[in-house]
Amino acid sequence: MTARVQASVAAPPGRDAERSADRNLPKSPTGIAGLDEITFGGLPRGRPTLVCGAAGCGKTLLAMEFLVRGVTQFDEPGVYVTFEESEEELAQNVRSLGFDVEALVQQGKLAFDYVHIDRREIEETGEYDLEGLFVRLALGIDSVGAKRVVLDTIESLFIGFSNMALLRSELRRLFRWLKDRNLTVVITGERGDGTLTRQGLEEYVSDCVILLDHRVDEQVSTRRLRVVKYRGTVHGTNEYPFLIDVDGISVLPLTSLGLDHRVSNERVSTGVAGLDTMLGGGVFRGSSVLVSGTAGSGKTTIATHFADAACRRGERCLYLAFEESRDQIARNVRSVGIELQAHIDAGRLRLEAVRPSLHGVEMHLVQIHRLVGEFKPSAIVIDPISNLGNTVDASAMLLRLIDFLKTNGITAMFVNLTTSGGALEATEVGVSSLIDTWLVLRDIEAGGERNRGLYVIKSRGMQHSNQIREFVITSRGIDLLDVYAGPEGVLTGSLRASQEAREKAAALVREQEQQRRQRELASRRAVLQAQIDALQHEASTLDHEIGVQARQYTLATDTIDQDRRAAVQRRGKESA
């Protein structure tokens, strides 16, 4: 995987190379979504291209789409020479893919020729050539004025005829003949054992070789396409996943796997005010956010908040749900006060519910590609990515998806379900390095209940809170509460509540004690005051007594003086 990623990151084909290649080598656009981007414009014009792969890998469909789109999009009529299926079978097989080839045949834009060779009824009796095939080809080409030809699959000739030397020289003549007529040809070939094709067709078709592959890993089928060789031009060299659905083939082109996407400094809200605060004002536009957590930890609720916020800003949001149906999600989030239906009705929200088991991982991602192309959202939610599988392929694909979204400036939120009990972070190692902001929702179990905690593991390029917040889902949405962090550790839920109650009680007791002491002091003060009052009273009484006593003394002294003078007067009279 690493090697593949490195190879894809290194040296994306430059624009100059592209231009000069275009000048040297005219190309025929296939019209197949993604293929023209990988090949920088299509298949080599006027030359044969070999499309090879095992049975059922989509060769016939690719060839057919090349012809049909040639007619409908580029006004290039075509001839389809089939060696394996009759015209009717072929028309029927591709009708389910939205191609009405019968109508094109009626319009004289498309011609079929079913070359049926049954070896059992053929006896070879000497020298021969394949002029009959040339005659038929010429007839078909002239009847519609074909610019494109499909030979599907010419290897059947090797089963029909036994003279190999003759066949090979005739094939060489055929390809030269086709080139001389300046026809763009697709030749299909069955993949051989250790070789691209069983009969070594690549020996004749040296201009462009495309290999299709159809693998089944863990019961999930994945289709891939690789341009093995494209002479004289640059081309994407990776294995590109592709899917076949009602619109034909879509290849997931990731030619822009450089790290040169524009970055935005604009912040967008996650839809949860408390979380925006933790991140210092939301996440960067065009960044990718991973929300991981165990079952029931509230991941989808966060994701719907994110979607809701985008829609409220008047932007478009694509919500891909792999676990729940549209209605189920809409109903569930209504209970937390989010009305998604209004956004859906207003055309701002597109909720796509897909069963993960239906497709392989590539199919999902190609589908995402297509949805993004159609809906052009500015935000996307994938809920959950864990359903895409945990294989190496899945993370490689996810890398490509993230890159694709970043290139398009789409803010992405990925929800990832982690198994409880295991190492929460371990399962996400493959993805986390690609993610800008990683939120983890964690159950905090204590005191007989389970509460939700949220924390930010990382968030590139911004200051973010290092604290765990308690994450509460109410009927009005998500609230983030500060958790109780004290000497007893981090407490949440009832424990936090009871701890708070205990603290409250203790405070009350302290207050009451304080009041009691206040009262006690006040009363002691009052007693003292009373004593002071009594003493003062006593003092003033004594003051009074002092005064009385002084007056009595003066009075007594006066009386004595008067008595003495009276006595003197009396004695003076006696002596005189």
């Binding site: 006896e123 070879e124 050539d129 038929r136 010429a138």
Partner: protein, 115 residues
């Protein structure tokens, strides 16, 4: 394989062949693409074999695909020259310039492969 089966079933292949050689009409068609040496050789070889094995009871039609290209598609012709035995049934296709007489006879079911 099919010839072996036939031999196993038929009581007397020689008798069958002789009866065929006396009553059956042969309708043969030789597809060519222009007057090529291979085509001319094939025609000459065919004529020789017919004169030898079914004198007076055969009819050879030559179809030049250069003039009638549509017949190439309609009659499922790929290799040139191709000889088609239209009658007697079943239809048989023999390709090449018919210079291998043995194989031509086998192809025309005038001789079984094992012989």
């Amino acid at each position: 394989m099919s010839n072996e089966d036939r031999n196993g079933r038929d009581a007397s292949p020689e008798a069958d062949e002789s009866s065929a050689s006396t009553t059956e009409q042969w309708e043969l068609r030789l597809y060519t693409a222009g007057q090529t040496p291979k085509s001319i050789l094939a025609f000459n070889n065919l004529k020789r074999i017919c004169e030898e094995h079914m004198p007076g009871r055969y009819q050879i039609e030559i179809v030049d695909l250069m003039r009638n290209p549509r017949l190439a598609k309609e009659d499922q012709i790929v290799a040139i020259p191709t000889l088609v035995r239209k009658l007697p049934q079943p239809l048989r296709k023999i390709i090449g310039d018919l210079s291998d007489t043995e194989r031509t006879l086998v192809g025309l079911q005038l001789r079984s492969r094992s012989q």
